[in-house]
Each structure stands twice: as structure tokens, then as C-alpha cells.
């Protein structure tokens, strides 16, 4: 099926994009398009106007500055996958990148687009949540910064206004003794997550857990952070028992639904298992034992 007719706008600056979003009737933002284009051709989405960001070169970056990792709206999955900066310090990002879809889709799809799409089965939102990141949005009234933990409302719905676009994601630069990891269960290569778990751990000088975040994919109405799991970790010396308690807390806090891929009880058990595995990797990367 062909997509419904639409007007295609190709701004070259963020200001131009924002003013188009403000003036057009029900505009939709197109970045990587790896979800939007099939939705349009099946007419699940029929936007009258499309604001295509791909010619806004200033949004194509992946860098560390001012204490944050900054992922611009045109950074593709493949950019994260091949980044040395990511490989060195952002374990959960490095884990997730090659697990997103397939090579062709990673060449086009964007990290920011995945967060904006807010599909609870998407991986990046969980990784950003685990890193306690922020979403930076630009609209006609200027810029605002939204903590990722507040951003996701419902499947495919978030705090973004219609006239706003996400310019970048920000993640605090991790400390010396900090590590993160992401584990994903999927039925086959390239699939969405059945269950995903991201964990970030910071150790203090004595090797105890000073700070931790656990976040989950595909087991709630949005990607979620689970403070119940973090509570089991903070102040403790890393050990299998501690990870087990955190995994059980994450499983308890999750709300998976049975579907053709597996029952709720199975998915809940996978939350428990994947959370523990992510914690083991995160602590190892943080320099713990």
C-alpha cells in the first residue's frame, strides 16, 4: 500500500524546523523513519505534513561536553554501535546498539527517534532511564529539559508537545567507578525485546554500591525505571545475593502481559534473570569484583 498524500518539508536548521512545527497543521517529525515510514504506508499514520529532519546537519552528533554525553537527533543507531567513546564508558549503550533491529535499519534509524516513538518494547528508552538521562526538547517557546523518568506516559505517548522536537538526549558522564549494562531477550535476531533490563552502578572507595538504577523494557506500559530494585543495591557490597534480591525486586515491580511470545510469569522470571545479569556486567565494568 502507498502512504497517503502528504506535504514533505525539509528544513535545514532547527529554528526552521521548529517554526514549521508551529505553523503546520498536525505535523509529524521524520528522522530515521524506520518505524514511521512503514506506519505511513500501512496508513496507521496519515500525517498531512511531514517535517523531515534529515537535512538539519547541526543535529548529527554524538559527543561528550559540559559533563554530559549528548546524542543529537540525527545520530543513528550505527553511530552508537561504532563509537569508541560509547564502547569505553557507556556499557549499556554499547550493549544495546547491536541488538537494535538489523544492520540496514541501524544505518538509518536514530536513537532520539526511538525515544520519541516511545514504544515500550524499544531498547533506547531503557538505556537512557538506566543512565538517568534527560530529553532536551525545542519548541516555539524555547528549550526545556525533561528527565527521562518523567518523559514516557503511555505506549507511543510522551510529554512532547506537537510543536516540539527532541534536539538531543543527555546522559551524565559516568564517574571513574561507574558501569552499566543492558541485556535483552528476543525471539530472533533483529526483533523487539520480549524483556530487556538495563542497570547502572556506581561504586564508592570501599567498593560498596553508592548509586544504582535499574530500568526495564517491554514489561510495563512504558519503559520504566524500578527504584525498588535500586533500593536493594545502594549501600550494599556487590554480591550474588544482593543482585538476586534486586532481580527479585525488579520482577516484583514489573507488569508484563502474556502474549504470543510468552506468559506473564515467564517474562517476570526473565526480568529477574536479566536484571541480575545486567548488574553483574555493570559492576564488573565499574571496576568491582
Amino acid at each position: 500500500m502507498k502512504a497517503a498524500h502528504f506535504e514533505h518539508h525539509e528544513p535545514t536548521t532547527v529554528d526552521e524546523a521548529v517554526s514549521l512545527l508551529d505553523s503546520l497543521d498536525e505535523p509529524t517529525i521524520l528522522a530515521g523513519g524506520q518505524s514511521l515510514v512503514p506506519m505511513m504506508r500501512f496508513r496507521l499514520a496519515q500525517p498531512a505534513t511531514v517535517v523531515d529532519l534529515n537535512r538539519v546537519e547541526s543535529l548529527d552528533y554524538l559527543e561528550e561536553s559540559d559533563g554530559s554525553l549528548r546524542i543529537g537527533a540525527l545520530a543513528r543507531h550505527v553511530d552508537v554501535e561504532h563509537s569508541e567513546l560509547i564502547a569505553d564508558r557507556y556499557g549499556a549503550f554499547a550493549d544495546a546498539a547491536p541488538l537494535v533491529a538489523d544492520p540496514q535499519i541501524r544505518n538509518r534509524g536514530t536513537v532520539v527517534g526511538s525515544v520519541a516513538q516511545s514504544d515500550p518494547k524499544g531498547d533506547w528508552a531503557t538505556v537512557v532511564l538506566a543512565h538517568e538521562g534527560e530529553v532536551v526538547a525545542r519548541g516555539p517557546d524555547g528549550e526545556r529539559t525533561i528527565p527521562a523518568d518523567d518523559f514516557f506516559l503511555l505506549p507511543y505517548d510522551n510529554l512532547l508537545d506537537e510543536s516540539e522536537l527532541i534536539t538531543e538526549l543527555r546522559v551524565p558522564v559516568p564517574g571513574e567507578r561507574e558501569g552499566s549494562a543492558y541485556h535483552k531477550l528476543k525471539r530472533k535476531v533483529g526483533d523487539y525485546a520480549m524483556v530487556g533490563a538495563g542497570a547502572r552502578v556506581a561504586l564508592d572507595d570501599d567498593g560498596a554500591i553508592a548509586d544504582a538504577t535499574v530500568a526495564l523494557t517491554a514489561v510495563d506500559i512504558t519503559n520504566v525505571s524500578v527504584p525498588e530494585a535500586a533500593d536493594e543495591l545502594v549501600g550494599e557490597t556487590p554480591s550474588g545475593d544482593v543482585f538476586k534480591r534486586a532481580g527479585e525486586a525488579a520482577a516484583e515491580a514489573s507488569n508484563p502481559e502474556s502474549d504470543e511470545h510468552g506468559g506473564a510469569a515467564y517474562k517476570r522470571n526473565m526480568v529477574r534473570v536479566l536484571t541480575q545479569r545486567a548488574l553483574v556486567d555493570a559492576v564488573e565494568r565499574a571496576g568491582g569484583d
Partner: protein, 231 residues
């Protein structure tokens, strides 16, 4: 609805097209440019049959509007035999194409153009991939005949050629066993009973093994077999 005029450099030639914004790149390639080697398999972005090589990357041309490709450089399967690496094997084809032919990399052939373009992107980035890397490299492409073993071997064959190694002997016997099929055609050697002659191995073609000394560099009987031990 306003049409846009776009310019694509496709297989080396510059083409100007007037497109509706909603026209997908794969439709522009197949229907406006008549390059029907690029296939449409699934309509959903899953199968990879529509994979083309655009600005140095493999992409799925059903997940991109043609207007978005304005100004880009695209190679489709039709352009492979004119690529700089074409002819490095024993035929005029690109080594990947030759690999698919020699190693039985296709059964029904529907996924083949996409597989070849995904393999090209893989080998451009990593000319000597491991089996695991090849499988990862073609993970965006589905073969519903499930002929993945031979597809992997085909890409390995191409990697051998591109790295100046002796590729393995083809399990497809060409003229050594070329006996006239019952209907007067040429046995393709695969035992399938068809009469499809291969250009390089067909009755009119020069004997490939004789004019391609790289097939047996030592001139020794075992040279080819030894070179064939790759992994």
C-alpha cells in the same frame, strides 16, 4: 499534491525524477528507473529484499521516501557487474555475484539481490569477516528457502577472491559434467534437470578453468584443494 524533482546517481548514471513525496525509494527504483533487480518482499521492512547500497551503506529502500534520497549515490544489484571489483574472480561478475553462483547461494533467488547488497556493505566494512560476522551482516535479510548455509559460503567465497585467496571449488560442476540434457540444452550440473547454461561454463564460453590461472596457481593437482582449506 506537489511533486519534487530529485536527482539520483544510480549505478553511476545521474537520473532526474519527478516524484510524489509519498513515493518510496524502492518504487522509484523499480517503476520509474525500471531497475527491477531490487525486489519487494515483505512490505514491512523485515525481509531485506529491497536492500540497496546508498552513500556507502546498506539500507532498506522500502523504508525511505524517494525524495529523501535526493542527491544520493545508489548502487543496486544491476550495478555490481560494473563495480571496480568485478572480474577479480574467474568471471566478469562481481566476486559476490560469482560467489552466489559458484556456491549455490540461491534457490528461488528472490532474496538474492538484497543478500548481495547487504554482503557488499559487509565486505566493504570488513573484507574478511568470520562466519559469525557474515551471519550478523545478513541478519536483516530473510531467505525463505532457508538457504543460509550456502549464502554464508557464497560470501566467504567472495571474501576469498577479494583477499586474493583461492576460493573453494564449486559444488556445482560446470563443463566437466556438461552433458546435453534430454531436450538438447546444457545440464547445469546441479542435478536439477534444468537446461540453464551458465555463461562462463556454457558450451560457447571459453573454458573458465583454462583461462584463469589463479584457479590453480601452482599448476599442481592438489593446489586448488589446498587453497580451498580456509576455515
Amino acid at each position: 499534491m506537489t511533486e519534487k524533482t530529485i536527482t539520483l546517481t544510480i549505478n553511476g548514471s545521474e537520473r532526474e525524477l519527478d516524484v510524489e513525496p509519498r513515493l518510496l525509494l524502492v518504487h522509484a527504483i523499480r517503476e520509474d528507473l525500471d531497475l527491477t533487480g531490487t525486489h519487494i518482499g515483505c512490505d514491512t521492512g523485515n525481509c531485506g529484499a529491497c536492500t540497496v547500497y546508498m552513500d556507502g551503506q546498506a539500507i532498506k529502500s522500502c523504508l525511505l521516501f524517494a525524495a529523501q534520497a535526493d542527491g544520493s549515490e545508489i548502487t543496486t544489484v544491476e550495478g555490481m557487474a560494473d563495480h571496480a571489483d568485478a572480474g577479480r574472480g574467474k568471471s566478469d561478475l562481481h566476486p559476490i555475484q560469482e560467489g552466489f553462483r559458484e556456491m549455490h547461494g540461491l534457490q528461488c533467488g528472490y532474496c538474492t539481490p538484497g543478500m548481495i547488497m547487504a554482503s557488499k556493505a559487509l565486505l566493504d566494512a570488513n573484507s574478511d569477516p568470520s562466519e559469525g560476522e557474515i551471519r550478523e551482516g545478513i541478519s536483516g535479510n530473510l531467505c525463505r528457502c532457508t538457504g543460509y548455509q550456502n549464502i554464508v559460503k557464497s560470501v566467504q567465497y567472495a571474501a576469498d577472491v577479494l583477499n586474493d585467496r583461492e576460493p573453494p571449488e564449486s559444488p556445482v560442476e560446470h563443463e566437466e559434467s556438461a552433458t546435453a540434457a534430454a531436450d538438447g540444452g546444457t545440464d547445469c550440473g546441479s542435478g536439477c534437470g534444468c537446461d540453464a547454461g551458465f555463461e562462463a561454463g556454457g558450451p560457447d564460453a571459453p573454458p573458465a578453468a583454462l583461462d584463469a590461472p589463479s584457479r590453480d596457481p601452482d599448476g599442481a593437482r592438489d593446489g586448488g584443494a589446498e587453497g580451498g582449506e580456509r576455515r
